[in-house]
């Protein structure tokens, strides 16, 4: 075997290593506590900091504290869909079995977190803007994202044959990714009620450090929590399919014992 071949074999191996359910379960069991406990600790620390130790806003008063939940959920709503789109790509191009299962499990978690984002935004909007809801570009595009999640959830479960659902939902997942840049840039393209981004990659944040700290803690905590929930659901679904296979096999063996003719027919 020459060098190029072995390199291809090695990278292919790296990529498809966790397609093996047993290996994934072993790795997942090791990874799970490292996600769950930091997620709980960081979220709790961030919320305590945000509620009790960060200053109230000079204009918004104490209602600014909704931010410590609203901003992380908004970030996770988009990132969750991004993860879904990546899974869709992996599923369509490489037929990675774990990507299919991950897409099934990310959907409900992402939809729930988008709902929390919309709800907290609405609660924040009432005291600040004087209305629960406005049809501005940012709010509308996040609402569309929520419906895209719901469509994905419904589609991936709508087929009797799971593989068909995975393929169909992957196509939809990629098509829906068009909404992500619209959400990101909606506050710049349109002059809306929703404020523009306070935290950017390049510029300095337009926010006091005393508020940035709790926000960073909850964002990190919620993100790890998202990962922990998805990983737990993924492990549960891999185990479930294993149990189903074992049950089906044992049922097949039982029927083969009681009725030896069908055994030879089935083989």
């Amino acid at each position: 075997m020459n060098a190029t071949q072995s390199l291809t074999a090695r990278t292919g191996n790296l990529f498809h290593r966790y397609a093996n359910p047993g290996r994934f379960l072993r790795m997942g069991a090791k990874l799970q506590p490292w996600l769950t406990w930091p997620a709980l600790a960081l979220s709790a620390a961030g919320i305590v900091c945000g509620l009790f130790f960060s200053p109230a806003d000079w204009q918004q008063g104490d209602s600014v504290r909704i931010m410590y939940v609203h901003v992380p959920t908004a970030w996770l709503a988009s990132s969750g869909y991004m993860a879904l789109a990546v899974c869709s790509l992996l599923s369509l191009v490489w037929r990675h079995p774990l990507a299919d299962l991950a897409a099934v499990e990310i959907g409900p978690v992402g939809a729930a977190i988008t709902a929390v984002c919309l709800a907290t935004g609405s609660l924040w909007g009432k005291p600040m803007w004087g209305t629960w809801w406005v049809w501005d570009a940012r709010l509308t595009s996040v609402l569309v994202l929520f419906f895209l999640y719901l469509g994905h959830i419904a589609l991936i479960r709508a087929f009797d044959e799971p593989q068909r659902g995975y393929r169909a939902a992957a196509i939809l997942g990629l098509a829906g990714a068009i909404d992500l840049p619209i959400i990101k840039f909606s506050v710049q393209w349109w002059n809306t009620l929703h404020q523009p981004d306070s935290i950017t990659v390049t510029g300095a944040p337009t926010m006091s450090t005393s508020m940035l700290w709790p926000l960073g803690l909850t964002t990190l905590g919620f993100t790890l929590g998202f990962g922990a929930i998805v990983l737990a659901r993924l492990r549960a679904s891999v185990m479930e399919s294993r149990i189903r296979t074992i049950l089906a096999a044992s049922r097949g063996r039982q029927s083969a014992q009681t009725n030896p003719q069908t055994d030879s027919a089935a083989v």
């Binding site: 895209l148 469509g151 419904a154």
Partner: protein, 226 residues
């Protein structure tokens, strides 16, 4: 044997148009729904001309969007059931081209009748004749977008347990930009503002949908017959 791609596409189009003509009631159903749904608004909102003129752009666009949804679940459904979809995919024609041909057929049998019916409905709702050009240009682009996105969604739900129920859930979120720009152009025309930019954005959306939707729909069709 070498196949002529354009002639095969023409054959698909001809077949679909002939089917649409033979089942006239099915084809007219969407247009009738469009006019009926539009006629419900004056009954529900009251016949005040001021209010109706203000709401006419939105009513026409929403009704067109919903009416274009109606024939979608039969777009590939009957072909999948009677096996002609397998035959089509076996002709060697790329599946995105088959999907594109079916989308054009959907536009010719649903989009064009909707365009023809939109004028009378808009006049009944009291829309000024001056904004008719904007309405029809916008709807021309909009119905094309609806056929492309609708065709993509229809190919994706092929073989699903409740495909007909799923379709609106998949199509409507993706078509919201078309609705926003189309109705905004019409609104601008009515209030005397510049309506060009909105129509250009609608055109840009269409330009993005023309290559992407048939590609996605082709993948959906291949997955459906696997």
């Amino acid at each position: 044997m070498k196949f002529q791609i354009p002639s095969l596409i023409m054959a698909i189009l001809e077949r679909d148009l002939r089917l649409a003509l033979r089942h006239g009631a099915d084809t007219l159903g969407a247009v009738l729904f469009f006019i009926l749904a539009g006629a419900l608004f004056p009954l529900a909102l009251g016949p005040s001309p001021e209010l109706l003129r203000r709401m006419a752009p939105g009513i026409v666009w929403v009704c067109a969007l919903l009416a274009a949804l109606l024939p979608l679940d039969r777009l590939f459904g009957s072909e999948l059931e009677d096996g002609s979809l397998d035959q089509l995919l076996m002709t060697g024609l790329p599946s995105p081209l088959i999907a594109l041909a079916k989308m054009i057929a959907h536009w010719l049998t649903t989009g064009v009748p909707l365009l023809l019916a939109a004028g009378p409905l808009a006049i009944m709702l009291g829309m000024p004749a001056g904004s008719m050009v904007v309405l029809l240009t916008g709807l021309l682009l909009g119905t094309l977008i609806l056929s492309l996105i609708g065709g993509m969604a229809a190919s994706v739900v092929l073989g699903a347990r409740r495909g007909g129920v799923l379709l609106p859930l998949l199509v409507l979120p993706l078509t919201t930009p078309a609705l926003i720009f189309g109705a905004a152009a019409l609104d601008a025309a009515q209030t005397g503002l510049s309506w060009g930019p909105d129509l250009e954005l609608l055109g840009a959306f269409l330009a993005a949908a023309i290559p992407l939707c048939p590609l996605a729909a082709g993948a959906g069709l291949r997955a459906a017959v696997e």
